[in-house]
């Protein structure tokens, strides 16, 4: 099939960007969206034009590197990562707009590539359990109820792609933050640092200039890993508890 793309091209962080139109012929329905961009890039290179820069790596939906806004929706029409979106989701003659994540906290580096370093800094602020190597007791020392282990796992499947931020009208990273708070806070190992963790992570979230959460839920709607929206309730509960206990340092 034949597709028309309108792709955001931006030379670097400080340059002004614009949408540029490209026609792509002979698109197979079995191609992934990124393979379709590969085909475009091969052609652009041979024509002496700069290929479109986009982040991607594992191409199996788990590393979280890829992610573009497709026709206004983060990761496009299916609830999955951009690399796992296939061209069978489109029709011959479609016009597809392709843009980077747009958020103040995610500055564009080039074309469709953005800087998501803010996510790492939120984790640095407290998204861990302090367990230096070699200090652990036997793994069976503390049983964990299966429902807690499952709940923690569901939250822990976040791949840090940033679609939640791109989808949120406030550009809030609350789902990302809440996923980590819930993952660690649901497990017995995570209890000692539970209050400090949520306060520090939320502070860092705000410092990075992500917007506030107003419970719209667009984040969970586009999340390729199905992180539940109620993790945000859990975060709020933990945060209120921590503040009531005077954990705000």
């Amino acid at each position: 099939m034949k597709i028309t793309l309108r792709v955001w091209r931006q030379k670097n962080r400080n340059a002004k960007g614009e949408m540029v139109r490209y026609e792509v012929d002979n698109v197979s329905t079995d191609m992934s969206f990124l393979e379709m961009l590969d085909v475009l890039n091969e052609r652009l290179t041979l024509e002496g034009q700069e290929p479109v820069a986009f982040d991607h790596d594992c191409r199996e939906g788990i590393c979280g590197a890829c992610g573009v806004v497709i026709n206004g929706v983060a990761h496009g029409p299916e609830t999955t990562t951009t690399c796992q979106l296939h061209m069978r989701s489109f029709s011959d003659g479609d016009v597809i707009d392709v843009e980077p994540w747009r958020a103040k906290a995610f500055p564009v580096i080039k074309d469709l590539v953005v800087d998501r370093g803010a996510f790492d800094r939120i984790i640095q602020a407290g998204g861990y359990i302090s367990a230096p190597t070699g200090t652990a007791p036997d793994a069976h020392a503390t049983p964990v109820a299966k429902k807690d282990a499952d709940r923690a796992f569901d939250a822990a499947t976040c791949i840090g792609c940033g679609a939640c931020v791109a989808a949120c009208p406030n550009a809030s990273a609350m789902l990302f933050t809440a996923a980590k708070v819930t993952h660690l806070g649901t497990l017995p190992q995570g209890q000692p640092e539970r209050s400090a963790r949520v306060v520090q992570m939320v502070n860092q979230h705000d410092e990075e200039e992500f917007g506030g959460c107003t419970n719209i839920g667009e984040c969970a709607a586009v999340c390729p890993k199905g992180i539940p929206l109620d993790t945000i309730s859990e975060l709020n509960q933990d945060l209120l508890g921590a503040l009531a206990n005077g954990e705000l340092s």
Partner: protein, 646 residues
């Protein structure tokens, strides 16, 4: 063959302790020098790569108080390709009371590696495996649990006990997130400087010691020098030399290869693992292959039609006209034979014309019986995410129609040669995880890569590196020294050359062609004629690459074509060495199958008298004959015999 390589002096692993095998690791830890905590902060270590082996090492060294500088090419350390490992991680916990022990894990791993790994290393790996699980649970890794709250286990190929710990089909992700969080904790503590979107392009060796790296900032193009007392490479495997593999698009051999060019020996490059259960290729545009976890073989049954050319819908083929060939040929291990055996069996039935799907390059992995036995919800709970992934990629529903699978390149057992301390032949250069060669021999068992990466990074390296660092801090290095400036200009010259060729072919088109050569002649089955042909073709293609590649843009920007071009250039040199290694090893062992060396029923036939050694290669110049150094392998505990999974 002497025109292809030169045989040099044998080498030995001088660090491996002697004595009873169960005491060797204790003995080495005791004999290794220690570094006083107050002195550690004066010592610096560079760690390249943030997968399981790199992130765990950087975090642990940071916790110990060393000053660590860490690099990854991704935009976050959490994205390293360990994240994609699905099935699980082995540990000899014997939580199932099914007869497992450290000795049995050791034995299974040595046998699974087809007697081409070191006994001392493998025993240590099995010992350390139990500590890894404890460590990961303490970090909050949400392993699968049973209703009583205890950890669940499953079985994997090549073994008859249940020792694999898992987190649904995302074990690698959960383990890596655990290591990543430990790493970020050290970043916050100020012990680790993290540099994302930085790619190592050269090793700096001064007075015979590894003292630093040259890296490119992939956003600005700036070429930076970083100096330290020791360098750790945890930069992963080289499966992408085949173009199509289950590796991430960015996985590359450059860090290892640059070290190899500076004097680090490269061991057993021909040992590559072809994973039996991947989604088959669907077209020329294909950019990568997706693995379907080996754990699926616990419940899925593999079959092809008995008759060639049977193109009926699989559901219409009656039971008696199906050949469950693994169950037939290997009744005691059935669908759970090791990966090398399962892959070759799939290739054989396809070569007979009984393959299924487009091009006849596929076999069925069928869950109909499992769904009947366990019910669909149980199958969903166990494998749901894998089934979804399959459906997304192929557009077929595996709950209704059997999956189609075919082998694909997955893991590389070869890598930089290291001693028991994980130190390469360049003093001060340590290599961990898939980037080294040490523990898997000629074939890696499932769920052992995660075990090895974390064993190296959390427990082995942080102990052994002390012995080296205790002699430091080494003399400070002036950035003006010739060894440093030469390394920087080598990097700049290469980039300038790549950008100035301005030919007519894209980097990908060269990479794809190289991959075809490797898959056809240095893939699942190899022979002398094919390998010689491959070497000639690689040389021709490499020459064309340096005259006709087209790389657009400049160095001073994010330039993905330039990144790829540098990596493919190194793959060309590696590919030739792989073929030479495969050619010189006139035996079959594990993942290396020479058609000239097989038993009557087509199994790999080793020649222990001639080839029970590690082949460690020395670089002598691009296109020059490499020098082979042999490290003899001795088996004191496990009797070398023909592997049998029948």
């Amino acid at each position: 063959m002497s025109e292809l390589y030169i045989e040099g002096d044998p080498i030995r692993d001088e660090k491996a302790p002697k004595g009873p095998i169960e005491n060797r690791w204790d003995q080495r830890r005791f004999s290794a020098k220690l570094v006083n905590p107050a002195n550690r902060r004066k010592l610096s270590v560079i760690v390249v790569g943030t997968g399981l082996a790199g992130a765990s090492a950087a975090a642990t060294l940071g916790e110990a108080g060393y000053h660590v500088t860490s690099f990854c090419y991704q935009d976050s350390p959490r994205r390293a390709h360990s994240i994609a490992a699905q099935g699980g991680i082995n540990a000899a916990k014997n939580y199932r009371n099914d007869g497992d022990s450290i000795y049995r894990l050791f034995y299974d791993t040595v046998k699974g590696g087809d007697f081409r790994s070191r006994e001392s290393n493998v025993y240590r790996l099995a010992q350390v495996s139990v500590e890894i699980i404890d460590q990961c649970v303490a970090q909050g890794v949400p392993f699968a649990r049973e209703y009583g709250g205890l950890l669940d286990n499953r079985s994997f190929g090549g073994v008859q006990v249940s020792r694999t710990f898992y987190a649904r089909g995302q074990t690698g992700q959960q383990l890596l997130i655990g290591a990543y969080q430990a790493l970020e904790r050290q970043v916050a503590a100020g012990t680790v400087d993290m540099n994302t979107r930085h790619e190592m392009l050269e090793l700096i060796v001064v007075d015979g010691r590894a003292r630093g790296v040259v890296v490119r900032d992939m956003v600005t193009g700036e070429i930076e020098t970083h100096l330290a007392d020791a360098v750790v490479l945890a930069s992963g495997g080289y499966g992408n030399v085949f173009f199509l593999s289950t590796n991430a698009m960015g996985c590359n051999v450059t860090a290892s290869w640059r070290a190899h060019r500076k004097g680090a020996l490269f061991a057993n490059p021909c040992y590559t693992q072809i994973h039996p259960t991947c989604i088959p290729v669907s077209g020329d545009y294909q950019s990568k292959l997706t693995l379907m976890s080996e754990s699926l073989r616990n419940d899925g049954r593999i079959w092809v039609p008995k008759e060639t050319g049977d193109s009926r819908d699989p559901r219409q083929i009656p039971e008696e006209e199906r050949d469950y060939y693994l169950e037939r040929i290997y009744p005691s291990f059935g669908n759970l034979v090791p990966r090398d055996i399962a892959s070759r069996a799939a290739k054989n039935v396809c070569d007979e014309g009984r393959g299924v799907g487009p091009g006849g390059l596929g076999v069925y992995l069928d869950f109909a019986d499992a769904i009947k036995r366990m019910g669909r919800p149980a199958v969903e709970a166990k494998y749901g995410n894998l089934f979804d992934m399959y459906q997304r990629i192929t557009g077929e529903n595996p709950y209704e129609v059997p999956m189609r699978i075919y082998p694909a390149v997955h893991y590389t057992m070869g890598g930089l040669w290291v001693d028991y301390d994980l130190q390469s032949t360049i003093p001060g250069l340590f290599v961990t995880g898939e980037a080294n060669f040490s523990d898997h021999g000629a074939n890696r068992l499932g769920a052992s890569a995660l075990m090895q990466g974390l064993a190296d990074g959390y427990f082995v390296l942080p102990n052994t590196i002390n012995d080296y660092l205790a002699n430091g801090p080494f003399d400070p290095i002036d950035e003006e020294r010739p060894e440093v400036s030469e390394a920087v200009s080598a990097v700049r010259d290469r980039i300038d050359t790549l950008l100035s060729i301005n030919g007519t072919r894209t980097v990908d088109s060269f990479h794809r062609e190289l991959g075809h050569i490797m898959w056809d002649y240095c893939g699942m089955e190899r022979n002398e004629e094919g390998l010689r042909k491959a070497i000639d073709s690689i040389r021709e293609l490499r020459a064309e690459f340096w005259q006709n590649v087209k790389v657009t843009g400049t160095n001073e920007e994010l330039n993905q074509a330039l990144e790829k071009a540098g990596r493919v250039a190194d793959f060309f040199e590696l590919a030739e060495l792989m073929c030479i290694d495969a050619l010189h090893r006139r035996e079959s062992c594990g993942g290396h199958f020479r058609s000239e060396s097989q038993t009557e029923d087509g199994e790999a036939l080793r020649h222990d008298d001639d080839f029970a050694y590690v082949g460690a290669w020395e670089f002598t110049g691009a296109g020059q004959q490499p020098v082979l150094h042999k490290e003899a392998l001795e088996y004191e505990y496990v009797e070398m015999k023909q592997r049998s999974y029948k």
